[in-house]
Amino acid sequence: MIESMVSDNSLPVGSKGHLASGWWGMIALVFTEGALFAYLFFSYFYLALHSISQWPPGGAPHLSIAIPGTLILVAASVVVWWGERGIQRGKPRQLIIGLSTAILLGLTFLGMQGMEWHNEPFKLSSGVYSSLYFTITGTHILHVIVGLLMMAVLLLWTTLGYFSAGRHAAISIGVIYWHFVTVVWLVVFFVIYIAPRLG
């Protein structure tokens, strides 16, 4: 059985989509990063449960920036997905549009987060809640920045004409990270903004 497969001399060569080692490496990276956030959320709930005063100290945070921010990030994931479908069908232009739109949306999200941080009445060192709030959202923001840099590099490579319908492993690998950043935000959104309203 194996012999027949080996003699079949038509195996693809090099990095192709999910066959690329890098694709597997990225999945593993997502797992370890996911674990990092899981431990952050553990710390949040652990400290919240042991808090003797009101949690969060100033009541649940406002949703006026967070909800549009969430929608923007989800939209950024959708356009990247649409762009990836483009290159799978040999349309690099569609990928370029998808990546550039995603970068604009990501930058908007960053700007809104900056506004939200600016509007908070507390700072990092005010108390244990503020420490958690800034650390969790800050860690996510760092991940958005890394994701944006990745998208920017991918955009550059696409404009240089590196990718085709058959060869675009870097795209398939990069977008996993971008989707991961979105999914983590959904959990951050639930933990920081929704969970305090459920108590």
Partner: protein, 545 residues
Amino acid sequence: MLSGFSNYLWPLLLGSRDMAFPRLNALSYWVFLFAGLFLYCSFPLGKAPDGGWFNYVPYASRAYNPGPNIDVYALGMVLLGISTTVGSINFIVTLARTRAPGMSINRVPVLVWGTVTASAGNLLAVPAVSLAFLLLFMDRQAGTHFFDSVAGGQPLLWQHLFWMFGHPWVYAIVLPAMGIVSDALPVFCRRPLVGYTAVALSTVSTMVLGFGVWVHHMFASGLPILSLSFFSAASFVIVIPSAVAVFAWIATIWTGRPVFTAAFLFFAGFVLLFVIGGVSGFMTAAVPLDWQLTRTYFVIAHLHYVLIGINVFPVLGGICYWFPKVTGRFMNEAFAKLSFWVMFVGFNTAFFPMHILGILGMPRRIYTYSDHLGWSTANLVISIGAFVFAIGLLLFLINAFRSFNHGARAGANPWGAASLEWSTSSPPPVYNFAVIPIVASRYPLWEDMMDEGPERSSVGTGMLLDQGRETVGSTVLDAEPDVILRMPGDSYLPFLLSVSLTAIFVSLLLHSGWGLGITVLVTFAASVWWLWPQKSLGQMQAQHD
């Protein structure tokens, strides 16, 4: 230690030409080296971490430890975590992708099971300790209050995060060593391992359970009794998979025809030490007994039986076993046996009396005690045993160095072993296998002797893959070939990237904003350069596509 072992052996065991990510491998090594230098440089400068290895707050918080000592530890550990993580990713992807055709998941050597389980454990556990050290660093330098009980923080959060990592990490250390025994012991018993499937599954389940027992390091910290009961029960359950492995080894020796080589002695000695270390662990898993014994020498005895008994002995046995493969020469057998007996006697003389001292109530972490307490004789015996152990280790090292140049020549398969690494020459060529082997059973080189079916592995004929650096990629479960992987060539980038990563941590330590900005930029540039798509690796459009 074990990463080095596994990095060298994996491609050979799996019938491949290299690990999945050779450059990542180099990065893991360089970052490991620089993180080590980062931590150890603090000793001559007098700024070494001084909070004990588990670094409990509040002793480690800024109010009680204002110098840079703890910051060195915090940053160094995060940097080291990066090395461990990339190394683990490499192991996991290598297992998933680069096995020889036909080496389905139920045919891989147990060392591979051990290392991949440890790597998956690391992937999920290392972030806990990195986060703990990051939060501590922020508490110390950025004014946060995670561990500050005055502002509503919890010192116990440190202990939770530390041990959520700490306990799985213990298994990350011992599982690959247990894998060495499961692979090499049967060779000297002239039969396959008893219960391969049970041992492989017990390896994985030990790790899974290992994530649910961290609180047993914290029984004496005043947690609610319900929580203690749960974690105590979980710690008892871990005995089951460990016992499965022990009985498999004993049954292998019992039903085999043991050849009493030095390597065999190290492995058999390990089984005995594993049982002693396991039983003392089982004892302290009981909460009431733990309250008696915690912070005493009993724990020190357990710790050394586990870490030295379960790790060092198998590794030394593994060195005896693979020495001919790596160097093409045997170690001096009589000398190796002598060093085993000296070490084994010395080890037990040094560490067994600690159990008794612990029960007598001698606390750990003291440097002197009153001479009326009745501990003096036992401590004298311990000191003598420790020197004997050290002499044994020295003998082993002398033997290894001598044999490297003067040992008797060894052929490709001097022990008559079953796995793929013994099918290539000793020492193996840099490409490991001239043709990629095709595997038809769990013991490719024993098929004629065992004669269990008509299928035979092929180590002489197979894919040649001679167009540059190539190896074959195969599917996760059945190892059917599905792609030919192109490997990158030698590169300075891993070195450059590890230097810039280390420089980031040095900048953080020195509070240098400029340094941080520049080093982050260099790191980014090096990463982009590293990942730049290359035609030769099939990462971008080629003319014929």
